[in-house]
Amino acid sequence: MNLPWQRFLLLPLVLSLALLIASQYVFLRGSLHADLGVGRLGDALTLANYRKLFTDSFYFDSLWLTIKLSAITTVATLVIGLPVAYVLARMRSRWGPVLLAVIVAASFVTIVIKVLGLNIIFATNGGLNRFLVGSGLLSAPITLIGKVEGVAVGLMYFTLAFLVILLYSVVLTIPRSLEDAAQSLGASRWRMHWRVILPLSLPGIVASGLIAFNLCMGAFTSAALIGAGKILTLPVLIQRTVIFDTKYGMGATLAVVLLLAGLAVNLISILVVGRLKVARGMTA
């Protein structure tokens, strides 16, 4: 059908590019200027902010913590979510769509409310901790606030439901007939999963995992609320640097590094997976 399709693109493209360039340029440019205090930036171009970030262990630790936390929680959510996605995708009963709808609805609820619920569950005087301490299973109550483990749990709640939805569509792309073939040729269920399902879904698993990883790298809410000023991941540090210290230059530098670090991890994983596939292809 011939319609002036290019013209359809014009207005949205101009508007979104304008917003993208205007906002990002104004902010990220600040990373090349020194902070003079109270939100003012120096005129001269300098790399001092970047030098400080990589020499001051405070900033570097935050970068490393963010990458480590995001990687660990992504792997943990994948391990938890993958079997669930598989079972739901292969479920024949009419409960399948209901369970799926529950997961989608849970992903609709803002993370602030989920963190609020977590705080109530792990309250020191709450039922869970009274039970654990009272029954002698633990000597002191578990808390999440201000703990790395707590932030990790918060990050898992941020991505888990969404990740299962992504993995569910990945499993759906693998025809069930392949499983029947593997089993009729004598493969056990475990072997069938290990040698058929996993290799076939690997690209989808990696792609979904990277989406979850990127979400974790940029996650602010759970890290800020559960970290309580003690666990400083990069997004939290950016907010504090800008709002409390009004150091826009340093905040922008941290933002640039956050963007680049996320990009680097994505590229490396894609390369590694590409290699794995090539190696597999050669042995098969």
Binding site: M1, L13, I80, A101, V109, I111, A123, G126, G218
Partner: protein, 276 residues
């Protein structure tokens, strides 16, 4: 079949795993809902509550309701703008014959790749600069927040429209053209109705992105301009009012009802396909 056949053991393990997953996933939500109906001791919020009451629902403060309605209004407003911009953009992106299409698609997707905190600070500074230049200060205004939410929501609408247009069978359009319809009326009466599920799911995502956003709104909010997540965030940091649990419960209930309605009217598969 023996009691411990491999098949039966696997099935039990799978069920246990799925049950554990749902317990983990839903526990915080269930706790919020239950405690919102609970009598609260002076010591703070505790689960399980000692007795039940509707007290927190009858005393929801005016500012919380205002914030809730503001959140809904901003989300609805940004969805309208996202759809008006995103549907032509998605159609154009698939149908145009430009060589640089891939680059355009990447540019449209860019806001998703930027962490929300960065978007928040960037818009804050952009609005300061714009204010100095033209005299309109966007930070701390509803318009400013709406524009930022359009920015983060638009990629979702474009993405779902692109996904549905790509799968769309052009023969329907050709048939209508052969039967004498003009291209514009084919667009209006054939193309748009067929891609509607993609538009609905994109709009749903854009609504949720706006409605549940904290980081961007946190930077662009002021004493008068506060969405519900911002209010909840500030309340959790300072002093906590249990009526917020009642509002949170309303949001949880609304999310589940919205999901059911979506499944009934559009079908959940439209939502899953465009989630990629």
């Amino acid at each position: 079949m023996s009691l411990f056949s491999e098949r039966r053991v696997n099935r039990v393990l799978a069920r246990l795993w799925v049950a554990a997953f749902f317990t983990f996933l839903l526990a915080p939500l269930v706790v919020v809902v239950v405690v919102s109906f609970g009598e609260t001791a002076r010591g703070g919020l505790a689960f399980p509550p000692k007795s039940f009451t509707l007290h927190w629902y009858t005393t929801i403060g005016r500012e919380y309701l205002t914030a809730l309605f503001a959140s809904i209004a901003v989300a609805a407003g940004s969805v309208v703008v996202c759809v008006v911009l995103g549907v032509p953009a998605g159609l154009g992106l698939v149908r145009t014959r430009w060589r640089g299409k891939a680059a355009l698609a990447a540019a449209f997707r860019a806001p998703v790749q930027i962490p929300a905190v960065v978007t928040g600070v960037a818009f804050l500074q952009f609005y300061y600069l714009l204010g100095d230049a033209v005299g309109w200060y966007g930070a701390g205004t509803w318009t400013g927040l709406l524009v930022a939410h359009v920015f983060i929501g638009l990629p979702y609408v474009i993405g779902s429209v692109v996904a549905v247009v790509q799968r769309f069978n052009a023969r329907f359009e050709e048939a209508a053209l052969i039967l004498g319809a003009s291209p514009w009326s084919v667009l209006r009466r054939v193309t748009l109705p067929v891609i509607a599920p993609g538009v609905y799911s994109g709009a749903t995502y854009a609504f949720l992105v706006s409605f549940s956003d904290l980081p961007v709104a946190l930077f662009l909010s002021s004493a008068d301009v506060r969405t519900f997540p911002v209010l909840l965030f500030q309340a959790m940091d300072y002093d906590f009012d249990p009526t917020l649990l009642a509002v949170a419960t309303i949001i949880i209930a609304a999310s589940f009802v919205a999901m059911l309605l979506f499944q009934k009217w559009v079908g959940i598969n439209a939502l899953l396909r465009s989630g990629q």
